[in-house]
Amino acid sequence: MSWEAVIGLEIHVQLATRSKIFSGASTAYGASPNAQACNIDLGLPGVLPVLNEQAVEMAVRFGLAIGAQINLHSIFDRKNYFYADLPKGYQISQFETPIVGEGSITITPETGSPRTVGITRAHLEEDAGKSIHDLYSGQTAIDLNRTGTPLLEVVSEPDMRTAQEASAYFRQIHTLARYIGICDGNLAEGSMRCDANVSVRPSGLAEFGERTEIKNINSFRFVEQAIEHEIARQIDVLESGGKIHRETRLYDPDKDETRSMRSKELSNDYRYFPDPDLMPLNISEEFVAQVRGTLPELPHARCQRYCDDLGLPAGDAETISSDIDRATYFDQTIEAGASPKQAANWLMGELSAYLNRHATDIADSPVTPTQMAQLIQRIEDGTLSSKTAKTLFDALWEAGADNSAGTQVDALIDSLNLAQVSDDGALTQIIDDLITANPKQFEELRGGKDKMLGFFVGQVMKATQGKANPQQVNEIIRSKL
């Protein structure tokens, strides 16, 4: 029998607000344990939550970016359960009335064609603290710095059928969240985590099989591995006559396996009810319109524009548009006068290689978009050859931040003596001398042996230390035939 997997993801997007969702404590990562837990985060007697408006704005941004309905009226509920890193004994979340309703997003899996994944809802909630079980023997350490960090929980429809699609969806949400500036996207610091709901069914069957939930996956690679593994496990169980039990499983990336955490049948009754400490959240149409006005061009639209208006190949357009910083760099390079195709080549070639080698973010690139544009212009006007352009790029990179003024590109070309020799007279003289010195080779060229053209061009380059304009050299030689 052949099987089909059905996958839905719940992605927790940590919102990049300065302070927490219900308190004024800082959300900065990496502080010493419990240094960023204020009275409110600690759940002291008498404290009250006050909603962070920036978190609301970010949720609305996300909703608009996925074309979702924005609920002008939403409600914060208490989700009640006891745990040592949950100071109040309840988490403030949105249960029945989330701020973001139904939307969708287009994904492009590495294999397969683009497809649309439905998003059921996205709601605001506070994060819990961290329990660290392996720091002290026999004891658990509690760090409440993360307590109250704003999360947007994005719940997808069970629209994905392969682990690759799930991973592509996770990536796409990551791209989008970074695009619209609501998340720093740092997976290693837990800025985005996901839970995967996975079930399998015989291919062609409409109804879903029993599902399991894999908790707390924090990388693109793990999401794929974990789901892959879970699909295989479920198929094994079913094919050997077993049954899938509704349960929560944990993925262990070291062993590449999922294992049962707790059975859903024994799960908590969270006793959701509206938090009486917070008024229902009412936002206005004007507010939504105002947020809409600040949205950047989104990845999909940008990719489309790169293809349609700038004539980039689909692959290039996809690669450049998938990262907000890369796309911004590209756009700025174009604006500064570079041709799109050259800009794309340099961005994905030399610049990308240097950034990787130096582990530098494109936003911090020592070579600025303006410099990049000038470099490209100097190639196009014949000042630089592709070889000298690379030398110049390296020099620009080394000069780093000192080299921000645009004129310095030309100054650098001069000081490094990188300009091509484009002077007709000088080149003609060199070529005439070469023809005189190599009559046999010239006769062969004249007789139609095109290979000899390369010989002459090479000799000219040698004589000019690579600075001759190859196109011009070609033209002069041909004029002698």
Partner: protein, 486 residues
Amino acid sequence: MNDVFSLREMSRALADGQVSSLELTQDHLARVKEVDSRLNSFITLTEETAIAHATAADTLRGQGDKRPTLGLPMAHKDIFCTEGTLTTAGSKMLSNFVAPYDATVVTKMADAGMVSVGKTNMDEFAMGSSNENSYFGPVTNPWDTDRVPGGSSGGSAAAVAAGLVAGATGTDTGGSIRQPAALCGITGLKPTYGRVSRFGMIAFASSLDQAGPMTRNAEDAALMLSVMAGFDPKDSTSANRDDAWLADVLHHGIAELERPAVIGLPDQYYENSGNQESLAEARQELEKLGHTFKSVSLPHTDAAIPVYYVLASAEASTNLSRYDGVRYGHRCENPTSLQDLYERSREEGFGDEVKRRILTGTYTLSVGYFDAYYLKAQKIRRLIAQDFDKAFADVDLLLTPTSPTPAFHKGQLTDDPVAMYQQDLYTVPTSLAGLPAMSIPCGFSQGLPMGMQLIAPAFREDLALGLAAQFQRHTDWHLKRPGEIN
């Protein structure tokens, strides 16, 4: 030693230089020490800080500070967090909890120059109508030492009635200011929900809790309210309003009513009240003052007690989840697991009534019961609020008894929680509707004080205060003092 003056009297004496805040404060402290072993109305005396604040107030006065509240001694119910001071909410759970911050109410009173002499006793987590649920022992009613002072703000009520302080803060969720005020013969005001910040006030039922003043008369209640009230960005449910009368009251006292009031008498509140006689007398007095009466109906009154106990318990059950023995408060000895830590810390830290309400609330919020209890109660709550809206279309204020009986004997109702809950019969509906209501003394029954309740439309405390002040200018019930309790 004689009992203390009213807040206004002390304010005038301070202004005239007849007495210093330090002298007043020392007198207060001395009186508490002398009398309170028999009343048990205080959990903590904050002698050192009181002396320091009084001295600071005197210094300010010497520099020309003429604020009417400067240097006035008072007390806080032990439900308000006070930085550096034990804040117990009457519970074993918090019997070791020293708050690291001040409640907004505490800050406001301190900023106004008022001097807190200590923290008053209360039913555990404000759950109770007799003050017998305190981990720190029951409070005695100064009028009869065998009787309860009411609850949950019984410590504040007894302390004011016995003249230990002229004013104390209280909190009222279903009647916890008004019922003890009635049972102790003092004036107590529960403001409109949202009028006073709840920040730093230990929560019982968040949608109902409201802090207010407990004093000897309406003028003092208005004085305290003007200090306590105001929008607080730290409390999302606090009302952002600018009522000029609140500022005026501080300097000029309560304004005369603009015209005689039309006072509604809700039929449902007079059916079984044991308070008919004193209320009838009060009505005659009010009629003499030109006010008129009109019968009104609040048809959903019967449902108020069950609705209240469903909603208040539901909110309480989750508000009290934070007391888990992990970060502060009572922790059991040698827990063997996290579950054991939770179970024993909470088993040991909470009293019976608190456990009863946590269990009730947990049940009504559970899957399968939520709709039948919590949601239904919310719907009826709305109907109860609508009853009041309709009534206030015809009348300015409502006059009702505050409690069904005068102070009852200690132990009389402890075995019958439902009978105890009936104490809130007349106070709970206004809490559910979020309306302001006050209790003022209106007579005696069996030698015990009786209270009448004035209910006003939302944010119209001025109407209730205006009528109460006028009534108190023409009667002396509020001036009666309990016999010597030494």
